[in-house]
C-alpha cells in the first residue's frame, strides 16, 4: 500500500532564519489582494458590488434600466412562476418526457427573483443609515435641551444663594 506524502511546505521559512536576532532581515508580508483573484480554479473578486445576472450566465427576465419598479416586477415574476408551475403539472400529465425545459424555466424565474431581492439590499442599507442619522440628531437635540435646562436651574440656584447670603448681616 503506497502512502502518498503531502507536498512539502513552501520554502519561504529559510528567509526567516535570523528573525529573532534581526527582524528587519526577513521580507515584509505581501500586501492584501485587490480586484479579482483566482482561487482553486475559480475566479473571485474583492469588490462588494452584486454581480449582474449576465455575469452569472443567467437570462434577465425583468426589464433593465436605471429605475426598476421593484414591486411591479416582483409581482409579475410571481405570476409567471405560478403559470410555469401549472404548465409543469400539465406537461407531467400529458407528455412526461418534456419536463426538463419547464424545470429549467422555473429555475430561471427563481434566480431572477432572488437577484431582484438582492438588488434591494443597497436601498435597505441607505434607509437604515437615514434612520440612524435621524435618531442621532434627535438624541443630540434632546441633550442640548437638557443641558440648557440644567444650566438655567444652576444659575437660578446660584442667584438665590447669593441673595440669601447678601441678606445676612
Amino acid at each position: 500500500m503506497a502512502s502518498a506524502s503531502y507536498p512539502p511546505p513552501p520554502p519561504f521559512y529559510r528567509l526567516y532564519k535570523d528573525y529573532a536576532a534581526d527582524p528587519e532581515s526577513a521580507p515584509d508580508p505581501p500586501p492584501p489582494v485587490e480586484g479579482s483573484y483566482p482561487l482553486f480554479g475559480a475566479n473571485y473578486t474583492t469588490d462588494v458590488v452584486l454581480p449582474s445576472l449576465e455575469d452569472q450566465g443567467v437570462r434577465q427576465l425583468y426589464p433593465k434600466g436605471p429605475n426598476i419598479d421593484f414591486k411591479k416586477e416582483l409581482r409579475s415574476l410571481n405570476r409567471e412562476l405560478q403559470l410555469h408551475i401549472l404548465e409543469l403539472a400539465d406537461v407531467l400529465v400529458e407528455r412526461p418526457s418534456q419536463y426538463a425545459r419547464r424545470v429549467e424555466e422555473i429555475s430561471l424565474i427563481f434566480k431572477n427573483l432572488h437577484h431582484l431581492l438582492n438588488s434591494l439590499r443597497p436601498h435597505q442599507a441607505r434607509a437604515t443609515l437615514i434612520h440612524i442619522l435621524e435618531s442621532q440628531i434627535e438624541r443630540r437635540k434632546q441633550a442640548v435641551e437638557d443641558i440648557k435646562r440644567r444650566r438655567e436651574e444652576a444659575q437660578r440656584l446660584l442667584k438665590e444663594s447669593l441673595q440669601t447670603l447678601d441678606g445676612q448681616p
Binding site: 434591494l120 443597497p122 440628531i137
Partner: protein, 147 residues
Amino acid sequence: MDIISQLQEQVNTIAFTMLNTFGTLQRDAPAVRLSPNYPEPAANASEETVNTAEQAKIMSAALVQAAKKFDALVAALPLSGGEEAQLKRLQELEAENEAAGQELQKQLEASEQELKLVQELFNQAADNCLNLKKPVLRVCNEDYHTK
C-alpha cells in the same frame, strides 16, 4: 426579521412547497392505462387513491396561499424614493447632524465653564468656613489625642 429576508424566505418556501407537491403526487399516483394494448391496471378505490386527490387539493391550496403571502409581503415593501432621493436626504441629515453637534459642543463648553466657576466658589466658601471655625477645630483635635 426584516422584510427583504422575509421575502427571500417566502420565495424559498414557494420552491419547497412546489417540490413537495410534485414529489408526493408523483410518488403516490395510481397506475394509469398507457395504451389499448395493455390491460387495464387494478384501479381499486383503496384509501391511497382517495388520499391522493385530497393531498392534491391540500397541497395546491398551500401553494396558492404561499404565493398570496408573497404578494402581500411585496405590497408591504417600504420602497419610498429612488437612489437620488435617498442620497439627497442623507446629505441634508449630515448637515443637520453637524449643526446639532456644534450646538451640543457649545453648550458643553459653557456648562463646563460654569461648573469650574461653581467649584471655585465652593472651595472659597469652604476655606472661609474653615478660617472662621479654627479655634473649635483645635479643641476637637485635643479631644481625639487624649482618647
